[in-house]
Amino acid sequence: MFEWLDYEFMKRALVATSILSFSVAPVGAFLVLRRLSLAGEAMAHAIVPGIVIAFVIAGLSVYSMIVGGLIAGVSVALLTSFVARKTIIREDASLASLYLVALALGIFILSASGSAVPLKSFLFGSILGIDDETLILIGVTATITLISFALILRPLIVSTIDPVFYESQTQKPGFIGQWFMFLVVLNLIGAFKALGTLMAVGLMILPATAARYWVSTITSYLLLTFLLALISSWAGLIISFYASEVPSGPAIVLVAGAIFIFSLLFGPQGLRLSIQSRKASLKTNQETLSKTVTNSPEIAD
């Protein structure tokens, strides 16, 4: 039953995705809370030109890809927040404009240089071939991410829930958002080699949206997000071990997707609540209506 534990590549994959789950869970949780879920997806595309340029110059090296991806991602993130704060368009529109330019630029450079990038592993990762370099990259990413969250969690919460209050209480209102976007980019690069640009976002967002249906405090939310990411990773890996035709990235994301749908249907704050509260609000409306009718002479006074 546990024969998958005998294989070296499975052990590596389990370690890699466990550490990744620790790291991407809080990032995904705050992407959802800050209403930036799609921005995470966009950022995954925004790092493409940096990675492509690094690939064209230095070949398939983890370190050059980190540097290239970070430069591209951070530039797009900084430009996005700069454009959103200084001009009339909002952050989502500003990001959508910039990441499309970045993506087009990446593909343009790739085609012009005539290089052949392994597109499938680019999109879906190659979690079954994780080398030492990638493991170290994931470890460093997780360390930086968790230390950062320990430090910025409070201002991050305040700036997410009440940006106007946050702005009134700090000298550098833009800093927390920029640091958070840096963490997003860092985690996308950390997950890029293992899960691919498409699947990395899945492991960030799906556990975070699923967890939101079960809990209503921030601590339990962050813990549950991590737990669901971990379950998705392990279950996905084991599925892909037995169904050897299925790549691990999509298998992991499909498990996360199944958890999301289950949570949507059965979570205390999912559809169940929405149906209950609709019934309740219908009832209240009727009560209010009858009260209004009874009280109407007073209102006329």
């Binding site: 430090l151 106007v164 921030i218």
Partner: protein, 263 residues
């Protein structure tokens, strides 16, 4: 004196919205800021907080600028779907003083939990563990007042705190503001309810049509001034003057106040 504004010019990007704003704030003052939409009330609040710089004039803090100024803005960007309980929202008032990893100290309230204390005074202790998204507008505003209390600031800015709030809640929160003033905190209150201004504020600043008028509420908020600063129309003023001239005949201040709130 806590704060002195002299000949302030306020606005964004070098374009003054309003000129010559002068006023003084002492500990224990409740200063009402009254003005039509777009008259510069929120801009004044942002300038006092240091979010935007004044375009002219001087903002003096005779002692020192307080480490923290409490601010309760309009709730347009507030996200009540955030997974947080009422007590966490109230505790948020303390984060600025706590830094990254500090814990809430109980010393100041004689060993009592300041968050619990604030929730009891704002009458939300019984819903302390409710998530924010189930709260009514009034309950949420009480929670935000609790946050303001926990912040324990010498100067409190409240920007239209009673929008979409029922009369009972408003009355209770106004009493709380009176208590804060009695504790020698200064409160600057942006308000449209003139009866509340007359009852609870000892100073008034009328903004409108690019000008400012400062003094006691009864001096400043006369029908003539309200018209000249674009706050009410001439016909409303005629009606209001009738109310003022009836003053001696009024049995209680309450009735007059109620009628004025319809202006």
């Amino acid at each position: 004196m806590l704060l002195e504004a002299s000949e302030l010019a306020l606005g964004y990007a070098g374009e003054p919205l309003i000129q010559s704003v002068s006023f003084q704030v002492e500990p224990g003052d409740v200063l009402a800021v009254v003005g039509h939409n777009g008259s510069g009330k929120s801009t004044l609040a942002k300038t006092l907080l240091g979010v935007i710089p004044p375009l002219g004039g001087a903002l003096n803090w005779p002692q020192k600028r307080p480490k923290t100024i409490s601010y309760l803005g309009q709730r347009t960007e507030f996200d009540s779907r955030f997974p947080l309980r009422v007590r966490d929202l109230a505790a948020m008032g303390a984060w600025h003083g706590l830094g990254f990893l500090g814990h809430l100290k109980k010393g100041k309230t004689g060993g009592r939990d300041p968050v619990q204390e604030a929730m009891e005074r704002t009458n939300i202790a019984h819903i302390a563990d409710y998530p924010l998204h189930v709260l009514s507008a009034g309950q949420l505003q009480r929670a935000l007042f609790a946050r303001t209390m926990v912040q324990d600031a010498p100067l409190i800015l409240l920007d239209e705190p009673f929008t979409a709030i029922d009369q009972t809640t408003e009355a209770q929160l106004l009493d709380l503001i009176d208590d804060w003033a009695a504790e020698d905190r200064a409160i600057i209150l942006v308000l449209h309810d003139l009866s509340a201004v007359l009852q609870h504020c000892n100073k008034a600043l009328l903004l409108g049509n690019g000008r400012a008028l400062y003094g006691s509420p009864r001096e400043v908020l006369t029908p003539a001034n309200l018209v000249s600063h674009g706050y009410i129309s001439a016909s409303q003023a005629t009606w209001m003057e009738g109310m003022y001239s009836d003053k001696s005949d009024e049995p209680t201040g309450q009735t007059k106040a109620k009628d004025l709130s319809n202006v």
